[in-house]
Symmetry: C2
Subunit: 370 residues, 2 copies
């Protein structure tokens, strides 16, 4: 089958890597000639935000999917009209890629999400009390396009464009759950993962799985995933990012209609990974079992401050010596501060052992330039 992917980054690369155990042809579209997918798929250099480019790329494929949501959804809708299967469908991509529509979607389907106000232009009066969060309607990605307004002084920093103004949740834990639904309507849910931050050590971005949750919290999450999967009138794999507040209530922060960083530890930690699941969704195959075999965790390998240029992974050989530790690089030759260059998954028999190993690995490796 000819499978087209809008975006040629690491998510696409790991999807293709996983799917090499089946017999399909992958095609990718990305503006960067050296995108991570470029050497392992039939590659087209081009802008996935451009209507004609997406239409031309997609028209001879059996199915088109995405590994980034900021794509031209109108072109995807036209492809659907022309009979090309699009996963997830153009309508849900369009909804999720605009924060305002995304929030309205939660409201319509009674999915708990922080209270909000829509602001279309800078003249509108903000009714939400301080502190609050401003999320730009479009263009947000990887934490960009989101800011917290804490004081009246901060009002001057407000972005003057269409935004969601959202109540600031008093966060106890950040959680994520990856759900999948195929065209036949079959659904599967991955075990919940937790994003752990350790402010003392300034260690961020550990995902760990599974997470101990009370029955009440688990029920809230089950209710959210069930409502979401019923509401989404589309096959797809979705990451639902959740806040657990200090009163024990679960809120949906946002949803990504694609593979997600918070699911990477599934590569070695679960019976099947999010990438295998995504492949099955795209081909409308029976969905895979997602059981967690053990404790698993992930840390991102991010380009160090002050380093730009040809990448070196300092300390990598020492990490390779550790048992049950798995390095995943993304085929990017150039590092720059904050660039996601890879990740490391770790398996362990307990949460404590997992945290120890993650902290140790984090201290051993550094992404620098030559």
């Amino acid at each position: 089958m000819k499978i087209g992917i809008l975006g040629g980054g690491q998510l696409g690369r790991m999807l293709i890597q996983s799917a090499l155990k089946y017999d399909d042809q992958f095609y990718t579209l990305d503006p960067a000639s050296d995108a991570p997918c470029s050497s392992i798929s039939h590659f087209t250099q081009g802008n996935f935000n451009d209507y004609d480019t997406v239409l031309n790329f997609g028209k001879d494929k059996d199915v088109v999917t995405i590994e980034i949501e900021h794509v031209n959804a109108d072109a995807l809708a036209e492809l659907e009209k022309q009979g090309v299967k699009v996963v997830p469908n153009a309508a849900i991509i369009k909804t999720i890629q605009q924060k305002i529509l995304q929030k309205e979607f939660y409201k319509t389907y009674d999915i708990p999400s922080p209270e909000f106000q829509v602001v279309w232009d800078s003249e509108e009066k903000i009714m939400m009390p301080l502190p609050f969060v401003q999320k730009m309607n479009t263009g947000g990605y990887d934490g960009k396009g989101v800011q917290v307004i804490k004081t009246e002084d901060d009002y001057q920093h407000l972005w003057k464009e269409a935004s969601v103004i959202e109540n600031l949740v008093d966060i106890d834990k950040e959680l994520s759950v990856i759900v999948a639904r195929n065209e036949n309507g079959e659904t599967k849910i991955f075990p919940v993962t937790e994003m752990v931050a350790d402010p003392k050590l300034n260690l961020l971005d550990f995902n760990i799985c599974p997470v101990f949750l009370s029955d009440d919290i688990r029920n809230q999450i089950d209710s959210i995933t069930e409502k979401f999967l019923n509401a989404v009138n589309s096959p797809g794999l979705f990451a639902i990012e959740l806040f657990l507040d200090k009163q024990g209530k679960v809120w949906v922060n946002e949803t990504a209609p694609r593979l997600h960083n918070s699911g990477h530890q599934s590569q070695e930690g679960n019976a099947n990974s999010q990438f295998e699941q995504m492949y099955r969704v795209v081909k409308n195959l029976p969905l895979a079992d997602t059981d967690a075999f053990t404790y698993s965790g992930m840390l991102n390998l991010v380009g160090a401050e002050g380093h730009a240029g040809k990448v070196i992974y300092e300390g990598m050989d020492d990490v390779l010596k550790l048992p049950k530790t798995y390095i995943h690089l993304y085929g990017k030759t150039e590092t720059k501060p904050g660039r996601k260059m890879g990740h490391i998954n770790v398996l362990a028999d307990s949460r404590e052992e997992l945290m120890e190993k993650l902290i140790k690995v984090k201290s051993m490796i550094k992404v620098i330039a030559e």
Copy 2:
């Protein structure tokens, strides 16, 4: 790093698939334009038995390795002279690719292997008593080039070429062990796997791992792997195929200087697969842990009799519904009787459960043509 592989079949494909989590460029050489590696690597169509072709292919690579042993070893020796790293080295490939030299190697290093006689031409008198095995000196592969001579009548079928005439072992079990050694001299050994045949059901070619073995048998195998790894003056990953006879003695049947079918279940069954280990050997990285997490087994997906043409995997959707069951196809579009098209790995909590699952899966799927 530029890594060249002689051969572009499934072993190379799964090596590249596994190594996509690192940042290297893979180059493959194979006579078939649609070889399994052709679409996922920098591909050169050509004959890996031809001296000039191999030399030209290898000269600009950082390291050259093999996924089939029937290659031009003289060209590899010349590449070594020119400063290209060759893994495993040309000398051990040359030894193993000729059955006569392979047998002499075992003799020299006191590695137990069935008694044998070398026959250089058809005039030589065979001293070995009946029944015996004839193995052609060169050209054997996947069971080809090997025959059993049982009776005096069978003498007429003797191949009239340089051969090893070998005592026929009274086999209780066929075992295999995959060993690895890197340039630094570090070594790692995978758990022993067993090739299980069920004559009643005519089910062949299940690999299962781990295997229950008495201390005595385990000690014999440990002694063999230790002697082998000391004797092999080369980095490499090697599959040592073993016979356990009915008197409890372990013999080396033969060795492959490469990735091997008997190690495929390591993809999901072990902390790291043979493919990850091979990658580390090629790059002289610290070797990976090889622990078996659970019981694992493999069955080959082989083209059914009477079917040639565009392949269909009949029953595949039902297999995809089974938990802890992993289909691996090789990217081959055309099937023919007996062609290895893929394999399926299965995990289980006991040997009994494993065998049941393997037998069930085997009955569910068939490799046919359109």
